[in-house]
């Protein structure tokens, strides 16, 4: 077993050589350390499975460099293509029907395969260099927690296991990102199979005792959302009863984004648009769907056309938009819901869920 650091200029070439020879490599990714082997090499896959104590039949996801490479190994449904474009590269694994080009033990028993395009240049350049996918299962024994540093990983391993490893690529301590969110894209209706950082996080509640506090909560959540959002267009759906602080919240968001105008209620004109320069955001939209009811109303204002890239929108009364619009937004934007509840004349509860 050899350890090589990512600071070593030869680490890519060496890793590629080990994988091509059917070796097992511990490799850093955008989430955790992963176990990388050539998934089309049966000997290498056997090695991987015995290392992981994984029973055959449970799938091992693979990392590809782009959608083109993915197409050689899985069948992509039309909506999955969209997901590839919008979610990847990122901490997501998309499960699609496999084309059975992998060694046994990679695809699941039902013939599906999990594919990732990781948001990590170290990992992507390795795959590009190889020209074929590598396995991207987290470097932990099945059922154990994943590892963010090589040191913590070593502690868990027996000598027998260590002997199976051919190469370790050490990138030091990785940021504490959760393993990827696994999405089942084998059917038009998407299902989350495992929650990572982006969709996970149990909902969070905040109690606000004043408009000022609501504003502070808005800023805090906005910063948090900006860190986790995967799309270049963000939607904050603000639901809750009349007079619960939805407009106050929107105003604080706008202010934080640099809007200098007074942000007033857009009930009458349905939405207000404010040009901004904040990160890569160019427009802040403040919608109020209070007056809109029927699907035609939404068509008449070209509702969905407003959610382009580089926009951040607050939507009040999102429950009025109907299922079709909601589905579209959830699919094509980073969509976050914040619920407002009246507790007493001076306090409100804000519940945030990813």
């Amino acid at each position: 077993m050899k350890i090589i650091k990512t600071t070593d200029p030869n680490f890519l070439i060496e890793t590629a050589a080990v994988i091509k020879n059917g070796g097992l490599v511990i490799y850093p990714s955008d989430t955790v350390y992963i176990l990388a082997v050539d998934p089309q090499n049966p000997t290498a896959v056997k090695k991987l499975l015995s290392f992981k104590n994984r029973w055959p039949g449970k799938a091992v996801s693979v990392a590809v460099s782009d959608i083109k490479m993915a197409q050689n190994y899985v069948k992509l449904l039309p909506n999955t293509r969209l997901l590839y474009q919008n979610l990847l590269p990122g901490p997501f694994t998309l499960v699609s029907p496999g084309l059975h080009r992998m060694a046994s033990g990679i695809e699941a028993e039902n013939g599906t395969l999990g594919v990732r395009i990781p948001n990590s240049s170290t990992l992507l350049s390795l795959v590009k260099n190889l020209g074929f996918p590598i396995t991207a299962t987290s470097a932990n024994l099945s059922g154990r927690t994943p590892h963010y540093s090589i040191a913590s990983f070593f502690k868990t391993l027996s000598q027998k296991k260590l002997n199976l490893i051919d190469l370790i690529v050490d990138a030091g301590q990785l940021p504490k990102n959760k393993p990827s969110t696994v999405i089942d894209a084998t059917e038009p209706e998407l299902k989350i199979l495992r929650r990572g950082d982006l969709v996970a996080a149990p909902s969070q509640s905040f109690l606000s005792n004043s408009e000022k506090e609501t504003g502070k909560i808005a800023e805090f959540l906005l910063e948090k959302i900006l860190k986790t959002a995967t799309f270049a267009n963000i939607v904050l759906a603000l639901s809750g009863d009349l007079g619960c602080g939805k407009t106050v919240f929107s105003r604080a968001v706008g202010k934080h984004l640099g809007v200098s105008d007074t942000i007033t209620s857009p009930t009458f004109i349905i939405y207000n648009q404010y040009p901004i320069k904040y990160l890569f955001f160019k427009n802040f939209f403040h919608f109020d769907l209070y007056r809109l009811n029927t699907p035609t109303d939404f068509k008449d204002i070209d509702f969905l056309s407003h959610f382009k890239k580089h926009t951040l929108s607050c939507i009040e009364w999102p429950e009025n938009m109907g299922v079709a619009n909601l589905k579209w937004l959830k699919k094509n934007t980073s969509y976050f819901s914040i619920n407002f509840e009246y507790v007493s004349p001076t306090s409100r509860r804000l519940t945030f869920s990813f």
Binding site: L242, T247, T264, S265, F268, I269, R291, T296, D297
Partner: protein, 345 residues
């Protein structure tokens, strides 16, 4: 000169023809029977509605004025503020019409239109009055609530505006809470006439005298949570008191801040306009109030000039053309968040 104007800043599609400051025709989509024009139901909101209605509205405006496009010397349209996609329909239609017929085009601020709507006259040149500047104007509608110091026509300073809901919006929303539908501002007015104005205790927004801005969302919230758990029967039994109380609070807030602005800016006369001024109770209160300040107050001379209309847009265009005969705004585009001070130059 003859002016044709189009206004599509929100729900209504409007067209008007003026001879100088005299209204020859003034068509507002919600006030005519469009079904007879189309033989079918027309959508209410925004884009498609404007697209469908606009040609007929313009034709009707010309027809009722007794003029044809050949007689028109100036074409005007609302540039903003308003709903972007609605604005662009009317604005681009007017711009194209002006271009094809080689007529100068003027882009108009909607709020300036509301402010100056008090100067509109009927085709006989009535009413006649002279007002002296500076004028302090209060414009109150479903979308705006502003106090504007008018130093001269074309020279404005916004001295107060709403920080959250517009006054008309607050009234509309309270009507909905009372089960009177939306928008129900006009219904509130009717029901409130018989009611007591101190039925509930409502907050007085923005107490400090130095603040000339408005805030209506606190009023709405307090009102809502006081009646939230009431049964429909209980609400129905004191509907007129509830309506009167809420309406009175809104009007008191409007007049208080208007009054503080007068004390600060010492205008020579007053004006009040916008959709909420269709409310006769508010007009009466404002008239009474102006008397206590010994100032003349002017309102739009016809009921339909309170709400969105194209006659006011044509009037602004007329004034601007008088000031600058070479005016041509055909290079401009709409601005959904157009500010009033941008009209100063």
């Amino acid at each position: 000169m003859y002016i044709l104007a189009i206004e599509t800043s929100c729900d209504d599609t409007c067209g008007a023809v003026l001879h100088n400051d005299r209204i020859l025709s003034n068509i507002i989509s919600s006030q005519i029977n469009l079904h007879s024009v189309y033989g079918g139901v027309v959508p209410d909101i925004a884009k498609r509605a404007h697209q469908q209605r606009l040609p007929a509205i313009v034709t009707l405006a010309l027809k009722r004025s007794g003029k044809t496009l050949k007689d028109i010397n100036l074409i005007a349209a609302t540039r903003g503020p308003g709903l972007g996609i609605a604005l662009s329909i009317g604005f681009n239609f007017a711009k194209d019409l002006a271009k094809t017929n080689h007529i100068p085009f003027v882009a108009v601020n909607h709020v300036e239109g509301h402010l100056l709507s008090v100067f509109l006259k009927n085709k006989n040149g009535l009413p006649r009055f002279t007002s002296s500047f500076p004028i302090l104007g209060l414009t109150v509608s479903g979308g705006h609530t502003k106090i504007v110091l008018i130093k001269a026509i074309g020279n404005y300073q916004v001295v107060g505006e709403t920080l959250d809901d517009a006054a008309g919006e607050a009234l509309d929303k309270s009507a909905k809470l009372l089960g009177l539908g939306y928008p129900g501002g006009p219904v509130i007015e009717r029901i409130a006439t018989a009611g007591q104005t101190d039925f509930l205790k409502l907050p007085r927004p923005l107490q400090p005298r130095r603040i000339l801005n408005f805030s209506f969302s606190g009023l709405k919230t307090s009102f809502y949570y006081q009646i939230k758990d009431w049964s429909a029967t209980k609400i129905a039994s004191c509907l007129s008191d509830l309506s009167a109380t809420f309406q009175a609070s809104v009007f008191e807030h409007l007049i208080r801040k208007f009054s503080l602005s007068i004390d600060k800016y010492h205008p020579a006369s007053l004006l009040a306009s916008g959709g909420v001024l269709a409310n006769l109770t508010l007009r009466r209160q404002l008239r009474k109030f102006a008397k206590t300040k010994s100032l003349p107050i002017f309102f739009p001379p016809q009921k339909k000039l309170n709400t969105d209309n194209a006659a006011m847009i044509a009037l602004v265009a007329f004034y601007r053309f008088q000031k600058d005969k070479s005016i041509n705004d055909s290079k401009l585009d709409i601005n959904p968040r157009l500010e009033l001070f941008q009209e100063i130059q």
